[in-house]
């Protein structure tokens, strides 16, 4: 199809490849660590999940990533299909002993990989918090005393439990999204629409 495709490394990769395969776009990924691979005329870019929307916004034709990273990066891309995997939620969690209501968060410090979504969530409620941006293992922050709470992805809740944290409010539901570059949608209208139609049926 001669497309450029950005997919997230990590837990969403296998499912993303499977969905594309079922929609007729099979990408046999080389098992080496090459981050840009040419696969039968298509160019595959394997990136950090949070960078996928940025790649698609800047000219990669299509990509798959979670709705959490798209909302955080505020990338201007088309999102024709929500895919039925990568389901989880973005939530606020505090330590078990501090288990308090969101309204009492005034002046708290919140550690997160999602500073934009976190600020927006608290601003909409008129609550002033300090946000610390961390990349990964956010749940450690309250344990070592650098944050009062976290905003992070919750799938089963086991990671929170293991770190003595309790989920107190959901910010948003998260699922994998199929993204399309705004110009590619116009220039490659027929083939992208065909792929979208097939993805809807997967």
């Amino acid at each position: 199809m001669d497309l450029s495709i950005a997919l997230p490394k990590g837990r969403l990769l296998d499912k993303s490849l499977e969905y594309l395969r079922q929609a007729g776009l099979e990408l046999k990924v080389k098992k080496n660590r090459e981050l840009v691979q040419n696969i039968e005329g298509n160019k595959l870019v394997l990136s950090k999940p949070s960078d996928v929307p940025v790649y698609v916004e800047h000219g990669i034709d299509i990509g798959i990533a979670g709705s959490d990273v798209l909302e955080e990066r505020k990338s201007e891309v088309f999102v024709p299909v929500e895919l039925d995997f990568g389901k989880c939620r973005l939530s606020v969690a505090v330590s078990n002993e501090k288990n308090i209501d969101i309204q009492d968060f005034e002046g708290y410090t919140v550690a997160t990989e999602y500073p934009n979504l976190t600020s927006k969530f608290f601003e909409e409620r008129g609550i002033s918090v300090d946000t610390i941006r961390l990349d990964g293992s956010v749940e450690v922050a309250p344990r070592i005393g650098i944050a009062d709470a976290i905003v992070d992805i919750v799938e089963t809740g086991r990671t929170l439990e293991a770190n003595d944290l309790v989920e107190i409010e959901k910010i948003m539901d998260v699922s994998a999204l199929f993204m399309v570059n705004r110009i590619s949608q116009k220039v490659r209208f027929e083939e992208i629409n065909e792929l979208v139609e097939k993805l809807k049926e997967v």
Partner: protein
């Protein structure tokens, strides 16, 4: 304007000169807007600041700024070239606004000037998709309680959001079909007539072009090139106290990425004696020639 300020400036200098000359040739006057204006809810974008307990916007969107200042007497032909702020992020834009009593002439003129500007920049591989907000408003009239959700879905072409709406499956299908209505003609007279009058096969009817900015009234368009991952620019028509206006804005930084800069060969190279060479150069410039002093 991030890494190499001089080489990027050289490109923008060349681009803005070409754009300025083209727009002036079409009888448009440049508007020099103040950088800081009193904050007004009708002004879009800009960096909002407070100074001595008053609210201000720094370099807001010029279309709303110009529209707020249009007074009596038509037609009006204005253009601007400047940096626009959206928070602390800035982009260099060139834009034009045309107000006249004839709405179709208004759009035809604006789109012809658009072609003229891009061709002057030797960007021939551009396309313009034309949509209509009014067609969408009419289509969702009976389900207007979902208007915000529908426009959110349309802006992102998000079929899943439309699927989740509590509306009939026939209506969902109608919305999806309209979103995918694209081609040289679309069956809607206003768009088809406009495309026929512009008479350029780079123009498409595309109901999937949806940019519900507060001031756009009906026809909207987006300009793009396969060589740029972002739109080159966008525009549309608006209504200003009963008068029809139309305009577009070009993103000069996106244009800069695809603009092929050619060596300028229309300079007269002047050298020799320090006193006489500069005197000769002055006379050449006075006669409208370009000079490059030999060092």
């Amino acid at each position: 304007m991030k890494k190499d300020i001089f080489s990027e400036s050289e490109r923008l200098d060349r681009i803005t000169s070409e754009v300025r000359e083209t727009l002036t040739s079409w009888g448009y006057e440049e508007v020099f807007l103040p950088s800081v204006v009193e904050h007004d809810d009708d002004l879009r974008k800009g960096l909002k600041i407070t100074y001595e307990n008053e609210f201000y916007s720094v370099r807001p969107d010029p279309t709303s700024q110009i529209a707020l200042n249009f007074k009596d007497g038509l037609p009006k032909r204005k253009f601007y070239i400047r940096e626009i702020l959206d928070g602390i992020e800035g982009t260099f834009q060139a834009g034009i606004e045309f107000l006249c009593d004839d709405p179709m002439r208004n759009k035809v003129e604006i789109l012809n000037i658009l072609i003229s500007v891009l061709e002057r920049l030797k960007i021939e591989d551009f396309y313009v998709d034309i949509g209509s907000l009014k067609i969408w408003k009419e289509t969702i009239e009976e389900i207007k309680e979902h208007r915000d959700d529908i426009f959110k879905a349309l802006k992102r072409r998000n079929l899943s959001l439309i699927d989740d709406l509590p509306i009939s499956s026939e209506k969902k299908e109608e919305l999806w079909d309209l979103l995918n209505l694209r081609g040289g003609k679309c069956g809607f007279d206003k768009i088809d007539r406009l495309i026929s009058l512009v008479d350029d096969d780079r123009f498409y009817a595309d109901l999937g072009t949806v940019r519900p900015l507060p001031y756009y009234d009906d026809i909207i368009f987006e300009i793009y090139s396969p060589r740029a991952g972002f739109p080159i620019g966008a525009g549309g028509e608006y209504n200003l106290d009963g008068t029809n206006g139309c305009g577009f804005a070009l993103d000069l930084e996106i244009i800069s990425r695809i603009y092929k800069m050619e060596e300028e060969d229309d300079f007269v190279v002047v050298g020799g004696n320090l006193k006489t060479s500069y005197r000769r150069a002055r006379e050449l410039v006075k006669d409208g020639k370009k000079v490059r002093m030999e060092i």
